[in-house]
């Protein structure tokens, strides 16, 4: 297949590509990442180690990666989608057998210079392959059941592997992001209504299975759901995290307690304050204004992605960009809901802010794809 089928009139070449980058999006990413550095500096008690400095290095690396990915024409990435997806599935299988255990789950492979979480990689490769699939699939076949089997397989295979780790948060994100892309591709409404109804049924089944031989989730996952539904049942145990997180958020008020003045985070009342709960520190130290600003930046990133997706006539580019937007959205929406007591604690980081290598690098690569689509869009 050739990209020229979209009747490209002009494609920038060489260094001119740099001019055609979506610069506002890059600035937004830098802004969000900077907030992350600031917060990591703060939760370390005013120190670049152990978190802020590595995070900055990784972000710099991520920026380079993003630009490299952006320079490469989008059709190359489209053609690579299947390979990338298969690669990530192999990694997921590898992690199943050789993965290191952390937080009660097998999640990463130690590469020496970083810990690679294949589940993070999969989020993007899955979106890529789905986009490529629907780019290839004639529109009239989109809603035909037999043509739906492949995308379902694409989504459920990694989901199954991730659930085995077990990483409920990532599994939910994979299903939601995959569903998002399938929805965008134009699959008929009826399927979604059916699936959502079935999903609710499954949820009921999950709860019904509790305590039986065919229990579907691990005990700690059930407990997380329990405490989410009623944190007061276990104020010093598992519900402690949610309660303390809400106290930190709420005590921020309008303007916050001041940079590095957040007592909840500084005195260790917050769990995992440098990763999943970093948003609470931001909200505590910079108040509603700070927290809402970050939310605004995130929303702007979504807006830029949506406009980029709509501006291009290339189906793969659109689906890919929207898929990245949905993935990105799911990250911060689930994380913020979680720390604000609207969702159970499932272990999803705050994108570009939480300390962690895999998630950030993968997101930067994903935005590289978005940039590539933007540069190489048919004009």
């Amino acid at each position: 297949m050739s990209y020229l089928e979209y009747s490209v009139k002009y494609t920038p070449t060489g260094l001119r590509k740099v001019l055609y980058l979506n610069w506002p999006l890059i600035l937004l990413l830098i802004a969000v990442a900077s907030i992350g550095f600031l917060m990591l500096y703060s939760v370390a008690g005013g120190s670049f180690s152990p978190w802020a400095e590595p995070q900055m290095k990784r972000f710099a690396m991520g920026l380079v990666l993003m630009l490299v990915v952006a320079m490469v024409p989008i059709w190359f990435w489209r053609n690579m989608a299947a390979v990338a997806y298969l690669g990530s599935i192999v990694l997921l299988l590898a992690v199943e057998f050789f993965g290191a255990v952390g937080m009660g789950a097998q999640r990463w492979i130690d590469l020496g210079f970083m810990r690679l979480q294949p589940s993070e990689v999969t989020k993007i490769t899955m979106v890529m392959l789905l986009a490529a699939y629907y780019d290839w699939l004639p529109a009239r076949n989109t809603s035909k059941p037999q043509w739906l089997l492949v995308p379902l397989l694409i989504v459920l295979l990694p989901t199954f592997l991730v659930l085995r780790q077990p990483d409920l948060g990532t599994a939910i994100l994979l299903v939601a992001a995959g569903g998002g892309v399938i929805f965008l591709a134009g699959v008929h409404w009826a399927y979604f209504v059916t699936v959502i109804t079935a999903g609710i049924g499954l949820l009921v089944a999950v709860f019904q299975s509790r305590g039986t031989a065919w229990q579907m989730l691990k005990d700690y996952q059930y407990r997380r759901i329990d405490t989410f539904l009623d944190p007061s049942t276990d104020p010093l145990g598992a519900g402690y995290h949610i309660t303390q997180s809400k106290i930190a958020l709420g005590s921020g008020g309008w303007t916050g307690r001041g940079f590095m003045q957040g007592t909840q985070s500084r005195l260790n009342f917050l769990p995992e304050k440098h990763t999943d709960f970093i948003f609470t520190t931001l909200a505590e130290e910079f108040g509603f204004i700070g927290a809402f600003s970050l939310l605004g930046l995130y929303a702007l990133i979504i807006v830029f992605c949506v406009t980029t997706a709509m501006a291009t006539r290339d189906r793969f580019s659109s689906l890919m960009t929207m898929g990245v937007a949905v993935t990105f959205f799911l990250f911060f929406a689930v994380n913020m809901s979680m720390v604000m007591g609207l969702a159970p604690v499932v272990g999803v980081p705050l994108p570009m802010v939480s300390y962690g290598g895999s998630a950030m690098l993968v997101l930067m690569i994903a935005f590289g794809l978005v940039q590539s689509a933007h540069i190489h869009r048919p004009r």
Partner: protein
């Protein structure tokens, strides 16, 4: 495969529509998150701010320094000294057993302390320090400090602990402090939060207990910031507490030390009162014990040794012990008769050795009788019949009233433990308590301080001081609190006929100065310091008629606990009384032989303010006194230092 442009256009429209829909949904969700943020951070900010403060701020008490106790000359009696203890934080120690074992190789650890520490450690949160060893030496502290790397979580700490520099001398008067017990806490309605501090020391006995409110002081408060694990991160602010008030007592350490030593290991007690002010200059009870043992918790063996001793070292016999006053009570009977105008100047009574009272025979201690005796001779020779006769004329109610005016049967308000009220019975009392008619025989018994009569050494000293001064002198133990002088116990006039009092004093003078006086052997021959006194020998058993017929068994032949109590009261100098003294030797035998010599020595010691010269003693006693003084001096190695700063 070239795509159909129309189809392409269509799919693009669908995609755009759905992208807007999905993007819109995402923005809507972001908006919802914003609203939630607004709700938590703006609407409920105050509530969460409060919760955050509650999380981080802890209020801790700062124990105040306990007030110190000084004697009348400013000599320390109870002090706070820095003590070192070794504490351990379980959380920091890691392997507690291994660290304890290592610590045990460096520092001597008590098995008892260790067991307590281990239970405490299991109970309390891991970040709280638990005391492993108390009152350790500075050497041990430095050993621990030097080996700190090998002893994670082990820290030496400095605290204040009570010490009693005068040791056993003040065991009964001042008492001791000890850690608050659950029992103590239950006794108090609304306990001071200080008492909840583990091992906080409070007064348990004696002045330490009675003046607890003034000595304790008020707790300071510090607000500290704690982290999630409860560890203190920093101090936010502190309000210093109020140190306890210093208490100066009326006791003179040098005299107290002498009295305690003079009583030795007898089961005895003595009280010295200043006749001008009512100040208790000495109050000793023997045998005594070291109150320092109790401060950190006495060992079971030591405690058993104290409780099982038949001489009851733990009791403060000077104020708790009540004894039939015996013949020392005769002054009261006489005063009652004199005040009632029942004794004429030349009245005598015939003493044939006994008196028939309503069909019962009451004996005089002298079987042969004293013949004709007047007031002075009756007291001097302690004739019992004379007092039987007087009492029958006066009646018990007047005697009882007189006893109470002299401070018998009345609880004196001194801050010591279990101050006894004694008993000066009247007819109504017997009816009320025993439901029986008061018999004439009871009056006869009471007239010589037997029967129902009971008095403590303190009461006897007060009685003597009142006789000597004619004033309603009351005993005072606390001289000043925080520098504020406490009211004197000098008291008003008793309102008695001065002639009658003078007669009594002269009679008492005869007791210890007249050749036939019962205490002649214990006289003082220094003219300026002549003393007046009265012996007492109180029976603790009934002598049956049969025994009397066989001949009364001599005291020395009786088992200790059935022997008579020996008592002596006196004041000196006779012309201008300065000190009133009472001595009781439990089961000591005769008052003149067992109690009077002690009282005389104490009196002289008080009068001279130091070891009295031998010239004050009768010539033939001097070698014996010399030997006794040498012995006592050896028993009180630091007596000279103590005596030197006497005001």
């Amino acid at each position: 495969m070239r795509r159909n442009p129309r189809e392409l256009e269509q799919t693009h429209r669908t995609l755009s529509r759905r992208a807007i829909l999905l993007g819109g949904a995402q923005l809507a969700f972001a908006g919802a998150l914003g609203l939630r943020m607004q709700y938590l951070q703006v609407e409920q900010a105050d509530q969460f701010r409060l919760l955050a403060e509650e999380n981080r701020i802890n209020i801790r008490l700062i124990p105040p320094a306990r007030g110190e106790i000084y004697d009348r000359n400013g000599r320390p009696v109870a002090q706070n000294s820095q003590s070192y203890r070794i504490v351990m934080v379980r959380e920091d120690a890691g392997d507690v057993d291994a660290v304890i074992t290592r610590l045990g190789q460096l520092v001597e650890l008590e098995e008892e302390d260790l067991n307590r520490a281990m239970t405490e450690m299991k109970r309390s949160p891991p970040y709280l320090p638990v005391t492993v060893a108390e009152q350790v030496s500075w050497r041990d502290v430095s050993t621990v400090a030097v080996n700190a790397p090998a002893l994670p979580g082990v820290v030496p700490e400095v605290g204040l602990t009570r010490i009693y520099p005068q040791g056993s001398d003040y065991a009964h008067v001042v008492g001791y402090v000890g850690p608050v017990s659950d029992y103590d806490l239950k006794q108090i309605e609304d306990p001071d939060p200080l008492l909840r501090i583990p091992r906080f020391q409070i007064g348990k006995v004696g002045l330490e207990s009675k003046q607890e409110a003034r000595l304790r002081g008020a707790a300071g408060i510090k607000r500290v910031e704690v982290n999630a694990a409860g560890r203190v991160m920093r101090e936010l602010d502190r309000r210093e507490g109020q140190a306890g008030a210093d208490v100066q007592i009326t006791i003179d350490s040098a005299l107290q030390n002498y009295v305690q030593a003079r009583l030795g290991e007898e089961s005895a007690s003595a009280v010295v009162i200043d006749c001008d002010t009512g100040d208790i200059l000495a109050s000793a009870s023997a045998p005594t014990f070291d109150p320092n043992l109790f401060v950190r918790g006495i060992s079971v063996a030591d405690y058993r040794g104290l409780t099982e001793n038949p001489y009851r070292p733990l009791a403060n016999k000077a104020v708790q012990g009540v004894y039939p006053p015996g013949s020392t009570f005769k002054m009261i009977t006489a005063m009652a008769a004199l005040e009632a105008g029942l004794i004429g100047p030349d009245d005598t009574v015939w003493c044939p050795g006994h008196l028939e009272v309503s069909g019962r025979r009451f004996h005089c201690w002298k079987r042969a009788g004293h013949g004709h005796v007047d007031l002075q001779n009756s007291l001097k020779q302690s004739c019992d019949v004379y007092y039987y006769d007087l009492a029958l004329k006066v009646g018990q109610d007047k005697i009882s009233a007189m006893a109470q005016r002299f401070g018998l049967g009345v609880r004196h308000d001194v801050p010591m433990s279990a101050v006894a009220r004694g008993l000066a019975p009247d007819r109504a009392w017997k009816q009320r308590v025993h439901g029986q008619e008061w018999l004439v025989g009871d009056t006869a018994n009471a007239s010589i301080g037997q029967g129902f009569m009971l008095a403590s050494p303190l009461q006897l000293a007060v009685m003597t001081a009142r006789l000597a001064t004619g004033r309603s002198l009351s005993p005072r133990l606390v001289k000043s609190i925080d520098g504020v002088e406490q009211p004197s116990g000098a008291g008003e006039s008793l309102g008695m006929n001065e002639n009658n009092l003078r007669k009594m004093r002269r009679a008492m003078f005869a007791v210890s100065n007249d050749r036939r006086g019962t205490a002649y052997g214990s006289r003082i021959i220094e003219d300026a310091y002549r003393m007046a006194g009265k012996t007492g020998t109180s029976q603790v058993r009934n002598i049956t008629t049969a025994e009397r017929a066989r001949g009364v068994i001599r005291n020395e032949d009786l088992p200790w606990e059935r022997r008579d109590h020996a008592l002596f009261v006196n004041f000196a100098p006779f012309d201008a009384p300065r000190y009133a003294v009472s001595v009781v030797v439990e089961h000591g035998g005769g008052g003149s032989s067992a109690a009077a010599p002690i009282a005389r020595d104490i009196t002289l010691q008080a009068l001279y303010g130091d070891t009295p010269p031998l010239e004050a003693y009768p010539a033939k006693d001097r070698p014996r006194i010399q030997a006794q003084q040498d012995r006592l001096r050896r028993a009180r190695p630091d007596a000279d230092i103590r005596g030197s700063d006497r005001a």
